[in-house]
Amino acid sequence: MSLELSGLVKSFRGPHGTQRAVDGVDLVIPRGEFVSMIGSSGCGKTTTLRLIAGLETPDSGSIVHEGREITHVPAARRGLRMMFQDYALFPHMTVGENVAFGLRVRAQRGRHSAAEIDRLVDEHLELVHLPGVRNRRPNELSGGQRQRVALARALVTRPDVLLFDEPLGALDAGLRRAMQFELKRLHAELGKTFIYVTHDQEEALAISDRIAVMHEGRVLQYAPPDEIYFQPTTRYVARFVGSTNLLDGELAGRDGALGAVRLRNGTVVRGLVATGLPDTKVSAMIRADRIDLVAEGPSAMLSGRVRERLFLGTHDEFQVDVDGLDVDLTVHMSRRRDASVAPGVGARVGLRWAEEDVRVLSD
């Protein structure tokens, strides 16, 4: 059982005429999975989430949850809980009243006794590691604490699906990391479906079972994180996720899963061909951490000159001006204990990689 989106379309009337925020989204989200939707702002990820939550109505398409069509079911009766970017805690209520809100609405009246509500509120504040704040007001809490209260408020009604709209966007980096682990733990503990919207690809890679990369209202690729990272099917996905080099060229030939790309300087780069590649205009994609800097010579596939070198802690980043191409290649190399071994700015270097680390892509 699962949540199925098919053919979802949603347009908004904006200052420049009608714009399709969501333009035919099909997604099957298996029950209990942690699915992220990522993309740059305006790609339709938040609108898709709001369509699932029932906060927007689609122009066409359908949403089916556990075999039940919910496309036009009011938000209040969908049983899906949403976490908002600004937490959306009710400022005039205490933390306890906030958490209990979903249990006290008319639709739930009579189902829980006052004592039971008390118990559930305490239980869920404990679950999010926030005991003893029941009687405080939201404005007395830190951002991370508010986040946890919002989570408890959503969880207390026992929804099957939790929707997250960039919930960690307002937190600082350290707290973000901690909350990512926390969400991962809760997901494993509760076994609920998490649908998570973020513009942060690293966050999505870290916490998701599956990622949908969206662009201009469509899903470009929907796959597990490692597949998104290592086997992107389009140039856009490759560029959006991770630090990537794209070398444009023409398809010079193919042999089964292998393809050869002739670059503008005549060099032929071989790599794995992405599924359904038709074009002659293609790109060879190589991750920055898959390229080795070697001495110039026959063993190097390309050669060039180091234009920039940045120390980034876990690794050095090199910008290499490649001979005969008007692009710089980005190369990540783990930091050597003795930094003088790594080539400095201005040094001539060769570039080498393994064929299986190259993907041949089109748009």
Binding site: A75, A76, F84, P91, H92, A107, N139
Partner: protein, 301 residues
Amino acid sequence: MSAEALAPIPDVRREARNAERRRLLLWLGPPAAWFAVFMLLPHLSLLYVSLGHMDYVDFVPGFSAANYVKIFTVEPYLGVTFKSFNNGLMTAVLASLIAYPLALWMAFGVSSARARALVSVLVILPWLASYMVKAYAWKTILGTQGVVNSLLVSAGVVAEPLETLMYSRFAVILTLTYIFTPFCVISIYAQLERIPPSLIEAARNLGATDLEILRRIVLPISIPGVFAGAVIVFSLAFSDFITSTLVGGPSDLMISSIMINLFGVSMDRPLASAIGFLMLALAAVLLVTMQWVEKRVQVRF
């Protein structure tokens, strides 16, 4: 280092402090002077006059509470004050009741920003018309030859034009409500606008119906705006005299009208001053109380 060497330092500090003080005085001087000349002095002179009495046409200064005693013991002063108070209260309540749904619609029912701006202008627009014109407008609507009566007579609901529509307490409160409601709308709208849309979406997402959202989220957060608007309207309506003179009957005089008569016709300036001072004191007490209440119910995000 010797103690003598350290000695000048406190002087430098004091100098800096004095400079700071002079600068503050420079900035605060003009508003403070304005306040003293145009607010404090007139009110003090009002108090001063109210403690004296008249000897035929001459004012005799004194230090007697006789005028205040008179207000509380001799009719019609206290009765009319109460009536005016009631009119003010009624106007404030009616204006709030009318304004709330309107402000609610402006904040949540009007989706495009342009439409919202247009509605805001429409709410404020009557304020560009003269007060007198607006009061007179109700005369033409409610009068015996007015729009309402003509309609009622031609529809056969009543045989004769209704006299009670015009020159009555009903007409006074209706007109006051019409004139002052925009204050309430603006005050309530300002509060509603502060409510982030995500709060309402979150409540809906948690299963609340529209009515529950209104009662449990929107109303508690916007109630300070209702109070603030009601206080402004009350103060204005309580002290109003033009409307009661234009559309009210002989028995609908408000306390301000009486005060004006005492000043202009009866030449009893001390008694008029006493009434004025009491009204000011009443308004001040009300404002301070409401401010306290508002602070208690104000929601901090």
